[in-house]
Symmetry: C2
Subunit: 403 residues, 2 copies
């Protein structure tokens, strides 16, 4: 098999851990696999460099930032290659440029446009372990670019896609994807397999092992992604296309997102297009609106409730207050003490009753549901934050996810 | 004027010092000059990375070492460019690659083969300060290479040559070239100007401000080199071609080299070609032989004395002992307690009596001269190391270098 293995900052956090990574790669090679490794900078290194830059400027040039920040991954890649060579392996370290990674020109948050895998492929053919500096590429002018947060995961997935690798393993300090957050429900179980779409729902809802950009890219490139820990030999969770999952569970997991705020607009003037106006202006202010409820009030006005990430609340308020000033909204109120609990599972598509069970579970526990939204593979409910853990544990139990 | 300014590791040793460098560059620009800056890694950074590599291997791959070590200069160049931009200047950081520096393929000690200055020139035309990461280039395959010890000086001189800059300023923690080591002779004076050839003699003889590779390159490319300190506004020393120095001093300086050892070969068999055999084998062992004396002994044998750098003594001994085993040399002895004192000056070419004054000065101080060698612009004498300081001070005085 051709396996891409990606190790994050914690996994290469010091020299001893880099040696551990070398041992792990070596073991994989000795099993007869070809391996391409993608590494992040040593943990803390990127933050240190950002701190240096901020010493000089609160808004440093993005072109210079990319030249600065891309240095950390070069260090790790060189060191890992040296460690592998010392163990008797043929290995070669490559920058993003050398690995053929071409991005667009959005410095500090570039997107990979294409990968020319020839150099990597030739090295693999020569029996070499390829060690690629993650998080970086070059734009069409040949200037170094970086991929932003989670960039090394993206490098790994894109490389796996370009090389048509059999597997892309993402090593972190977490052993895989769980049915829910084990800190809330100790009976949570690690999933063996999960579909891209379920993972996307779980990730956006708070299971922060993988960024959605990486899962989306893996889905697009049809890359079999595994998340596992670099601190033990425990098997991880395979994220793959739905067709590869034979026994489709009704429910795969329960996600919790505490990072939500509810905005209530009272007495919204009932003119055609008012809702469209409000949400267009919110979109223009880059506020991510999630769930929306609208209902007629007793008088000639409407009430509109919606949720946004807490970080967007400030911008959302500014938009709303314009409408209040114009008199098109009578009153507004905000509530940060809410959370969103979601039940996710591909099996829902073909089975009725999943949503009903969620609602009845809430009712049995006297938890009031403020808002509901559903999709083919999930049911989300907004509830008071104080019930968050109770709701997660009750749902986990109701769907027997510990079995 | 177009000025290349190079700042070494100490000058960019921390963030405050990088800001000082930015201030100095800014001052130069405000005087109306175009400036291209070349920077080293922050002091200690390169050693730290070498230490990391040695953790994994006692003999790490040179290709990987170049990828590793070239990261330090990228950091400094980016940060300095950010600092200059924050001060309102147009600035751009460039890697060796971007600056057009192409080297041969000798990883970790590459030689610059050519520089395509187009990118730098265009940036200067656009009114930008160009900040180049020193010490690095790329080979014809596009892989990063580094230039070895003193590499950033070489980058600066080569760039100054390619851009036909008016001046190449090398900033260190020393304020220029002195008539002799001020730690030995406090009356030593800073030279305003010195010729390339004098500098080459002074450098190889112990005045360690600039490596000979850089001076040789400056001479070849006809680059006006200035060494000065980054810690004050004091003027430095201009190193230029002899024709640019109007008043040629008889003697420019007194150099001291303590790093010499004397090897005495006694009873060398007097057959044709024996000396050639010995010195060819020493050359093959990469031993740098400096001065040689040969004299007939009373019997049918010869005595040969020569000096080598202390660091080469081990290898030299190995070669000599082969001849002792073969019976072609009767006996050998070694003396590390010697030093070489040299009087250097272009004026000697046209004035007699310089050497005679050196010898008489030694005689007046009862210092025995063991070996002598002369060139057009220098007189070197090997003496017992205990007389080193006395000899330097006496000669400095005899040629009135404090005047």
């Amino acid at each position: 098999m051709l396996i891409v293995q990606k190790f994050g900052g914690t996994s290469v956090g010091d020299l001893e851990r880099i040696q551990n990574v070398a041992n792990r790669v070596s073991t994989t090679v000795k099993k007869g696999h070809d391996v391409v490794v993608v590494v992040s900078a040593m943990s803390g290194e990127t933050n240190k460099l950002v701190g240096y830059a901020e010493h000089f400027s609160s808004n440093p040039s993005r072109v210079e930032m990319d030249m600065l920040l891309s240095s950390g991954e070069r260090v790790t890649a060189s060191l890992l290659s040296i460690a592998l060579q010392e163990m008797g392996h043929k290995a070669v370290a490559m920058t993003g440029r050398k690995a053929g990674i071409v991005t667009d020109n959005h410095h500090t948050k570039a997107r990979i446009e294409e990968i020319d895998p020839t150099t990597m492929q030739n090295a693999v053919k020569e029996g070499k372990i390829v060690v690629v500096a993650g998080f970086q590429g070059v734009n069409e002018d040949g200037d170094v670019t970086t991929l932003g947060r989670g960039g090394s995961d993206l490098s790994a997935v894109a490389i796996a896609g370009a090389l048509q690798a059999d597997l892309c393993e993402i090593y972190t300090d977490v052993s895989g994807i769980f049915t829910t957050d084990p800190r809330i429900e100790p009976k949570a179980k690690k999933l063996d397999k999960i579909s891209y779409d379920e993972m996307l729902e779980l990730a956006s809802l708070g299971a922060k092992v993988l960024q959605n950009r990486s899962v989306e890219l893996a889905k697009k490139l049809n890359v079999n992604l595994v998340t596992r820990t670099s601190f033990s030999d425990e098997e991880g969770t395979l994220i793959t296309k739905e067709e590869n999952i034979m026994e489709k569970p009704l429910v795969s997991g329960i996600a919790l997102d505490r990072n939500q705020a509810r905005i209530s607009l009272l007495g919204v003037k009932d003119r055609p297009g008012i809702a469209s106006d409000i949400f267009n202006k919110l979109a223009a202010a880059e506020v991510n609106v999630d769930m929306i409820i609208q209902n007629k009030a007793v008088d000639e006005t409407t009430n509109i409730d919606f949720t946004v990430p807490v970080g967007d609340l400030h911008d959302a308020k500014a938009v709303v207050e314009e409408f209040v000033k114009n008199g098109e909204i009578q009153d507004e109120s905000y509530n940060e003490d809410i959370c969103k609990v979601s039940v996710v599972g591909v099996g829902m598509k073909s089975h009725a009753g999943v949503a009903a069970k969620a609602f009845s579970t809430m009712a049995q526990n006297n938890i009031n549901i403020n808002m509901i939204s559903t999709s083919e593979i999930k049911v989300s409910m907004v509830i008071d934050e104080k019930y968050a853990e109770l709701a997660v544990r009750s749902l986990h139990d109701a769907y027997q996810l510990d079995k």
